[in-house]
Amino acid sequence: MISTVVLATGLTLILIGIWGMLTHRNILRIVIAFSLISTGTHILMVAIGYVASGTAPIIDRGLSTTEAPMRAVDPIPSALAVTAIVIGLAVTAIMLAFAIRLYEAKKTLSIDAFTESKW
């Protein structure tokens, strides 16, 4: 049940991101929409890794080594989420750098001003 709600949240964020990316003409807003998509993907991965009534895969007083395989959630999507966050940050940084360059070229952030690469 919980993971279905989290899954729906992540997919809704992705949908909002896609909608924002297609409708907005300002480059900064497109970058924000892209960040929404990547955040939605992280939530999606965490939701996929959830096991019913599971807990974080960290061994401590509350979770002994023997009962960990029964009660822990899947650690692999969590490890991949760390990777995905770093890659998302990297892509955002590159996009913002290009946004600065595009603004310098045309003195506007509207994507309608950049018609050279339009087919």
């Binding site: 899954l7 895969p57 650690p75 966050i85």
Partner: protein
Amino acid sequence: MIRRAGIVLAVALFGLVFATLTVHHVERQSLPPLAKRYVELVPRELGAPNVITGILLTYRAFDTLGEVAVLFMVAAGVGLVLGRRERRTETSFRDAPQPSRQASEIVRTGAQILVPLIAIFAAYIITNGHLSAGGGFQGGAVVASSAILLLLADPRQRFDQQFLSSTESAAGVLFVLVGVAGLLFARGFLDNRVLPLGQFGTFFSAGAIPLLSVLLGAKVGCELSVIIDRFRV
């Protein structure tokens, strides 16, 4: 108008796919075999209570190395795209409003108080990555947040680029050297058992994982600070 209809159609189709995914999603009742094996092996073989750190820094440490390489490429790429802007500043930013207004007293004093605390918190997160939630990437991001705070307090602040880049390179080289040591003295590249595993759950345990965490944290923190610094006008 046609474009609007196309957008609505595309979003509706994506929504249909996502709704189908959500409706047919069944919550897992037990771990898949690979995850089960990781959860069993990390505490037993690597001596690390945090299974995720064990995966990130030993079983999939090669991926982590690649990820750090991606970060390095981004720092280089942002530098390439935004490079040589000092020369342009006079011509292209002359008509832009000058951001010369000083940050407020609250921001400056707050930065002075908070930056040391943030640094301590980052060190805590980095060095406890094998015991509890945390690790090199997370702590490195906290270090970079203190860099942002310093820039907000004083936009003309100059970071010591030489120090940042040499720390980053040294951390990267040491990370690979620890990996090669694993190849020579343990059972594979980036194997954490080059150092004694120690007592399970204590600060000095889990072999090379705390060392790798510290190196990763230093590298990520420096790299993110360099990226943030490059965005300044």
